[in-house]
């Protein structure tokens, strides 16, 4: 695969006719690579499809396979890092095998995508979590990986919470005073921002309102706990703006099994597919592709994974495809909404690890 060229593709500008031939060609190449390099993957494909595969369709693996098997397409000596999904100790976590090349590609693609939303300049960064979340190797799961990955886009990193998840008001006030007028970057996991930051700030009697003039807040990690409290995306955004001031709020969807290709929500609240990945919504009954507007199981395809066969994954999330190439925000490609978890799937969103 010619990554020197692929990485230069415009992220949200190709329409279907221009993107899909390139995307499909590379996805099939990638599937063949994994078929040759990963014994487990080969066994699964041979068992399910008797080898007659990859001509025009690449089958998706259920994402939970990564919880039960260490699937890899590289030699043991080339394993550089194994990242795990979020999950409490009682739950089984996904294990993703990475080599240096794959890590570097994930990082470069993440930079390309995030810069579309934050700009090229690094910004003062407020992290809505406590600093030990990245130091403590035991809780070093997707939450730590997420914070660390996004730290790259900030400077003067400030943690808004203490270790017991209470507000660190001194740090927060100092940050807001110093950077009120300039662009700042705020990052955290959805539920943690809501519960331990926005709601906690509202309870603070002294000074519960700030007037940021130019902030961007990115958040991710799942809505399950907020759905239980009946908090919608609109409500979340509205309260963030009420408490913080002028802030652009963008949710994003992504998973540790396909780190790098994240799906960021546009100004209209729709998640957008970057050029290096594709989303297919499949029927809950028979897994055939659903029409636009009909809820189904989300499949994510990505060109990034080379060290593990995670290029086509059937997630445990439900979503709706809303359209392709015609979002009113002007971005090309597919756009969709995530509705929540498939029933019976375990709680697993990053922000849900803080019970």
């Amino acid at each position: 695969m010619d990554w020197d060229k692929l990485i230069e593709l415009p992220i949200y500008q190709l329409n279907k006719a221009d993107k899909m031939p390139i995307f499909n060609e590379h996805l099939i190449q990638l599937a063949q690579h994994h078929y040759q390099q990963s014994e487990n993957y080969r066994d699964i494909i041979n068992f399910l499809y008797q080898g007659s595969v990859f001509e025009n369709e690449v089958p998706a693996l259920a994402v939970r396979l990564f919880k039960h098997h260490l699937l890899k397409s590289i030699n043991d000596k080339d394993i550089f890092k194994i990242t795990t999904s979020s999950g409490t100790t009682s739950q089984q976590v996904s294990r993703i095998v990475l080599d240096k090349e794959n890590i570097s590609r994930q990082q470069k693609i993440l930079v390309k995508i995030v810069q579309q939303w934050l700009g090229r300049k690094r910004l003062p960064m407020l992290i809505i979590d406590h600093p030990n979340v990245i130091k403590d190797k035991f809780s070093y799961s997707a939450r730590g990986v997420g914070i660390q990955g996004l730290s790259l886009f900030g400077h003067h990193h400030t943690y808004a919470l203490n270790e017991d998840m209470t507000l660190n008001m001194n740090a927060i006030e100092e940050f807001f005073e110093k950077y009120t007028a300039e662009p700042v970057f705020i990052f955290g996991f959805t539920f943690i921002i809501w519960q331990y930051f926005i709601q906690a700030l509202k309870k603070e009697k002294t000074k519960a309102q700030f007037c940021l003039r130019n902030a961007t807040l990115l958040h991710s990690g799942g809505w399950k706990k907020l759905q239980e409290q009946a908090v919608s995306n609109q409500e979340f955004t509205a309260q963030c703006q009420q408490v913080l001031g002028k802030v652009n709020v963008h949710n994003f969807y992504g998973m540790v099994e396909q780190t790098g290709t994240i799906y960021v929500e546009c100004e209209l609240g729709y998640l957008h597919c970057p050029v290096w990945s594709d989303v297919i919504i499949r029927s809950k009954k028979d897994l055939t592709p659903e029409k636009n507007g009909v809820e189904g199981i989300i499949q994510v395809n990505s060109l990034l994974p080379t060290s593990y066969p995670g290029h086509a994954l059937l997630t445990e999330d439900l979503g709706v495809l809303l359209g392709e190439d015609d979002c009113a925000c002007g971005r090309k490609g597919k756009y969709f909404r995530v509705n929540g978890r498939l029933a019976k799937a375990e709680v697993r969103g990053c922000s849900d690890t803080q019970a």
Binding site: F80, K100, S104, Q107, K108, V111, Q115, R120, R122, I134, K135, Q148, S151, L152, F153, H155, H156, H157
Partner: protein, 81 residues
């Protein structure tokens, strides 16, 4: 202090390494202490000590002690190592 001394001190502080291990053969991730967490601490330290602000690409590229020198020279033509 020479730029090299400042650089060595920054590595010593950020990565919590003995000075004896800070030399041209030191590489990101080949040493246990220089992992991705320590990397961002190192970046903050260097930015503070040399009064620079790195581009994202340079943060990713700073994969060794030698590379750190190269990148710093790009930002400050007056220093030498």
């Amino acid at each position: 202090m020479t730029a090299l001394t400042i650089l060595i001190n920054a590595f010593e502080n950020a990565l919590e390494l003995p000075i004896s291990e800070i030399n041209d053969s030191l590489e990101y991730n080949s040493h246990k202490k220089w992992d991705s967490t320590a990397h961002m601490i190192l970046i903050a330290q260097l930015e503070n000590d040399f009064d620079v602000m790195f581009d994202i690409d340079d943060i990713i590229d700073m994969s060794s002690f030698v590379k750190a020198k190269e990148i710093l020279l790009k930002y400050d033509g007056k220093i030498s190592f």
